[in-house]
Symmetry: C2
Subunit: 136 residues, 2 copies
């Protein structure tokens, strides 16, 4: 039975990681647990755990990525909301049956076994929703 388990992360697009770190880590006190170059996303991502969820600061590293275009058009801010799902295939089937528009009709699998799919913001009231499933 497909179901949403938790908020996995809120992704924030930033223009400058040092300035973002000064606010999120130094001022708010959320330590950056990891900082990773993500070539597939053309971004550097800082991961700040908060009680089982994460805030992810995403700094685009190339001008032609989705987050770079978002930054150029809207400025820095919340980019997407990622929800952990149990039974991602079942969830996507249910969404399709209800006419929800998906960016990925089938889950994309990462090398680490994580599978994800994005819902189109037109079907989620302006929110870019990522659905993600951990490997069994």
């Amino acid at each position: 039975m497909p179901r949403i388990k938790r908020i996995d992360h809120v992704a924030v697009v930033v223009a400058d990681l040092d300035e973002a770190t000064a606010f999120w880590q130094d001022a708010l006190g959320l330590p950056i647990a990891a900082l990773k170059e993500e070539p597939a996303e053309k971004a550097v991502v800082a991961f700040l755990p908060v009680n089982g969820s994460e805030i992810e600061l995403v700094k685009p590293t190339a001008g032609d990525s989705g987050t770079a275009k978002f930054l150029a058009k809207r400025g820095p801010g919340m980019h997407h909301l990622c929800l952990e799902v149990e039974d991602l295939d079942g969830m996507l089937a249910r969404l399709k049956a209800r006419g929800v528009r998906l960016i990925h009709d089938e889950p994309v699998e990462k090398p680490n076994g994580v599978r994800y799919a994005f819902v189109h913001p037109k079907s989620a009231h302006g929110v870019l929703v990522e659905l993600y499933e951990k490997p069994a």
Copy 2:
């Protein structure tokens, strides 16, 4: 010692609560636990718990509120990120000492004892951050 405890909620501004319910509750399967008229915020808010955090769907009920202006300017989407804080007074003092711009210099107290303050998005890289403290 001031610290962030968890993501309390992600607030999403919506234009139509029935349509939003069709996606968030009926399709994704997140039940609406409460639906409240919030006169102070000039909005109706649907609360969808997700493993100790919440997604809040905010439908403005008057044209002159902050969320109504957001909706008119940017369309529906993620509006703010609320973090639960331990020692809100200490947190605000630390933020001010670091030059972080606040919308509320002092906490606002609700009738139920909850205290909150918003950080200005210019100081939080485009994210409207709400800091909130439960009554002791």
